[in-house]
Symmetry: C2
Subunit: 135 residues, 2 copies
Amino acid sequence: MDTKQVAKETAKVLQSYLTYQAVQMVIKQLSETNPPLGIWLRQFSSNNRIQDGEAYLRDLMGEKKDLVLRILTVREHLAEEMLDFMPEMVRTGIQQANIEHRRQMLERMTQTQDPSSIDPNDVTHPESDINDSPD
Amino acid sequence: MDTKQVAKETAKVLQSYLTYQAVQMVIKQLSETNPPLGIWLRQFSSNNRIQDGEAYLRDLMGEKKDLVLRILTVREHLAEEMLDFMPEMVRTGIQQANIEHRRQMLERMTQTQDPSSIDPNDVTHPESDINDSPD
């Protein structure tokens, strides 16, 4: 497995996502301090333009330099505040999700072993038309 | 700024992205060991279905339980291998990007002050057809 390449791509995705979150924060701040500029930035940032954070910032630089500086500052701040918690948060999220997926899998397997308890909404079984409900 | 909420959303995005990367790895492995299954998984995973990683895994469980177990294992492995490096990688990426954006901004500001130094590749200039290459 080429985890090095995956790590690089993941870091890039994370950086773009922080850019997106920084832009959302600046839009929110502007909606209170300078609503017309907030609306302008929201429109500029629509259409998935922000998928590549750095390209987005380069485009914005041609329009409003001050906003770029502001987004860079907020993004740096967000990174400082959050990044150190990410490994633990994601690790915990993955562990909990794995437990949940495995539990569901066991449940389904138990259902398969005991045909009387098959959920008719579960996968398609030829036997599923057997109506053996007690009442 | 509600950084707590942003941190939660970011962790979710990162978890889904690791799921996507785990699926890509399993598809690659299958293309060597079991090509038809690899093609099947590729098709199952298309159409942005993987945007929400956990929903994707629940869907896949209804089709091929073994693949879900395999993806969970690869995802856990990826998380173990990479997550600890993420804060430093993203922090460095953001710092380098900031330096680059600020450099470009200074360049543009200098260009505005001194029109003779304008880069013909930058924005459109009527003078850009001047051919002043030395040879």
